[in-house]
Amino acid sequence: MSYFVQVVVDGLSNGAIYAALALAIVLVHRATGLVNFAQGGMAVAATFVAFALTRAGVPVLLALLAAVVFGFVLGALLERGVMRHFERGDPDTAVVATIALLVLLTGASAFFFGYEPQPFPSLFPNRTFEVLGVFVSFRSIGTILVLIAVMVGLQLLFRSTKLGLAMRAVADNPESSALSALPVSRLLMIGWGLAAGLGAVAGVLVAPQLFISPGMLDFVLVYALAAAILGGLDSPVGAVVAAAFIGVAENLAGAYLDVVGDDLKIAVPFVAVMVILVVRPQGLFGRKTTVRV
């Protein structure tokens, strides 16, 4: 029994890593209507800033705050300097532009910090505690708590603030929003800035485990996109629940299905995602969009 619980707990802590990035993807989608492939690249670039600061002796928490600020500025500048040129055009072109940004940001991080994975100090104590034969690390608990706080914060931002409402309006229909006197460009900039700032939080949370390197989030991005889409792309709660589901399903399949084992366990959650999306195309928590003819 404790083995089963341990497998689930490990799955949740993996899921927390995916959820961190998935939340940022949801945020940018909510704010701009785009799926942003550069999310991982922005997060890594901001995390490297925190890394450089901790190297210089700055406490992790302060370094995190600096990274969030840097991320916000970076995201806003990228929106202003690059993405704005694509915003009125075909959304597919804009998505491809985000892929180009991902490559560019990864290269820039590597230029300054090299490709070698390097250890990153943890915000939380690097210890574990035991409950009824199950070992849980403070790091996972801390990560999950921060993610829940972020998730609630985002939910409140979009549901209960004017800014959130305006951002949703802009993402939904930029032209009508502009006609209603909403500052569309500035809202898009803020959306990208917030998403990159959140990316910095995600990066700092997962870097102690993954080691910081320019490609740190490359594979995580695949899981995070799956989680974001399964969760419904515009639902923070959905992204977190879906990420937890993917982490736990993967681990349980690896541990209990002998046919699957360690080699195929990665396929299990993705097959599940496909099946769920066939049945529920809008995702677990997504809103159904209908088009009136």
Binding site: V7, D10, N14, E116, F135, S213, G215, A255, D263
Partner: protein, 420 residues
């Protein structure tokens, strides 16, 4: 609209340049594919020079070890060049021209780099790192009869059948050799021991397990749990949890990815499982793996070794190490900024190359391969005492023995092992 003429002109320029490049490369290609130059010598060698090339990962996740395979070799070669050059068996002294390219650990890039190097007319391809990359290059090297030698990969493919692959040799001990050394240590303890294995799901992991199984067959050593992983996995927590349930005495962790190996070390102890640990030589560097992973918590951490650590105080007075440090500081430190043992391996490889040159009676690739395959009992610099280079066996790499060492958290280095 005004940009159109420029675009056209730029396009024409690109086209012209491409044609020029094609013509040039076409010419060198025709020359090199003949195998022999005008005076009966192979491409890439003159009376006073010889050119060699390498393609290794210099960027991407494997950049650390990859850069080291270039840096150590460059250090040896340039130091020797500065010292007058390399003496050859035909009586000439030659300067070695060394070209290196980055393949990001990507087989397709490695192949195109190899072609670029042979088009430039290299004499031999030396010391490249990586199993998939070298496996992709091997058939082409064979077909074009270009020596692809002293490779920095422990996969058996490059060493186990040298009659079938006469142009390819491995340098470092095969992973099977490393696995076998672990097995032999446990068998020598002569008591029942349980083992859990964690292996990368490819040639690397499989060779490790094969060597280990060969050594422990029919003994009291029993593998009670085993798991595999993909190098792309984000964490190995679930595998370690699964293995920890066996509570085995020993964990053989054939993991080649730095963050994952650190994750294994932290996860096992966080579950209260404290086995003795066996780590491969390529993921047991104290500064990047053992200290971040908290290796001091385990009763013992073993790893195979065959080279001296130039940063260890134990070797500070060693002449080899001093020569290495001086050469590396001057010629290698720009290429590789962080130390991995691959730096010392490739430096030793430079000495083996020099030994082959010394035995080379004619300026041909055939003569080079003959000389390279006739080295025995050669004490290359930076190898541990008792480890010698022997290229005469046709199913083993140039170095086919390893010594097990044990992590000493007090000094941050390794100490010799006298039993399990």
């Amino acid at each position: 609209m005004t940009s159109t003429p420029h675009t056209v002109r730029a396009g024409a320029l690109v086209a012209t340049a491409s044609i020029a490049v094609l013509l040039v490369s076409g010419c060198t290609r025709a020359e090199s594919s003949g195998g022999l130059g005008g005076d009966g010598s192979s491409p890439g060698i003159t009376d006073d020079s010889i050119s060699i090339g390498i393609s290794s990962p210099l960027s991407g996740p494997t950049a650390g070890p990859g850069s080291c395979t270039v840096a150590g070799l460059a250090a040896y070669i340039e130091a020797q060049n500065a010292d007058g050059g390399f003496e050859f068996g035909d009586g000439n002294t030659r300067q070695v021209e060394f070209t290196y390219l980055d393949d990001v650990y990507d087989p397709a890039r490695a192949v195109s780099n190899f072609r670029q190097l042979t088009d430039q007319g290299i004499f031999a391809y030396v010391g490249a790192l990586g199993t998939p990359t070298n496996a992709a290059v091997m058939p082409i090297a064979e077909e074009e009869e270009v020596p692809q030698v002293l490779l920095t990969t422990g996969a058996r493919t490059f060493s186990e059948d040298q009659e079938a692959h006469p142009w390819t040799t491995g340098f470092v001990p095969t992973y099977a050799t490393e696995g076998r050394a672990f097995g032999e240590l446990l068998v020598a303890a002569d008591r029942p021991i349980t083992v859990a294995t964690l292996a990368q799901n490819d040639d690397f992991g499989q060779s490790y397990l094969d060597g280990f199984t060969e050594a422990t067959e029919g003994s009291q050593v029993e593998v009670v749990a085993s798991a595999t992983y993909e190098p792309t996995d984000t964490t190995l927590d679930s595998q370690v949890t699964e293995l920890a349930a066996s509570n085995a005495d020993v964990l053989l962790s054939a993991v080649s990815v730095t963050p994952l190996q650190v994750g294994v070390l932290t996860k096992a102890q966080s579950l209260g499982w404290l086995p003795s640990i066996f780590l491969p030589s390529n993921t047991s560097t104290p500064g990047t793996i053992l200290q971040p992973g908290g290796a001091e918590a385990y009763p013992a951490v073993f790893t195979p070794s065959f080279s001296k650590n130039p940063n260890s105080p134990a070797f500070a007075e060693d002449e080899d190490v001093q020569a290495y440090n001086a050469a590396f500081e001057e010629y290698g430190s720009q290429i590789a900024t962080t130390y991995t043992p691959h730096c010392t391996w490739s430096y030793a490889e430079g000495a083996v190359l020099a030994e082959a040159f010394a035995g080379m009676e004619e300026p041909t690739r055939e003569s080079f391969m003959t000389a390279l395959r006739s080295i025995s009992d050669f004490q290359a610099p930076m190898l541990l005492d008792g480890i010698t280079v022997d290229t005469t066996s046709d199913d083993e790499a140039a170095i086919s023995t390893v010594e097990l060492v044990r992590y000493d958290a007090g000094t941050g280095g390794f100490a010799p092992v006298d039993g399990f």
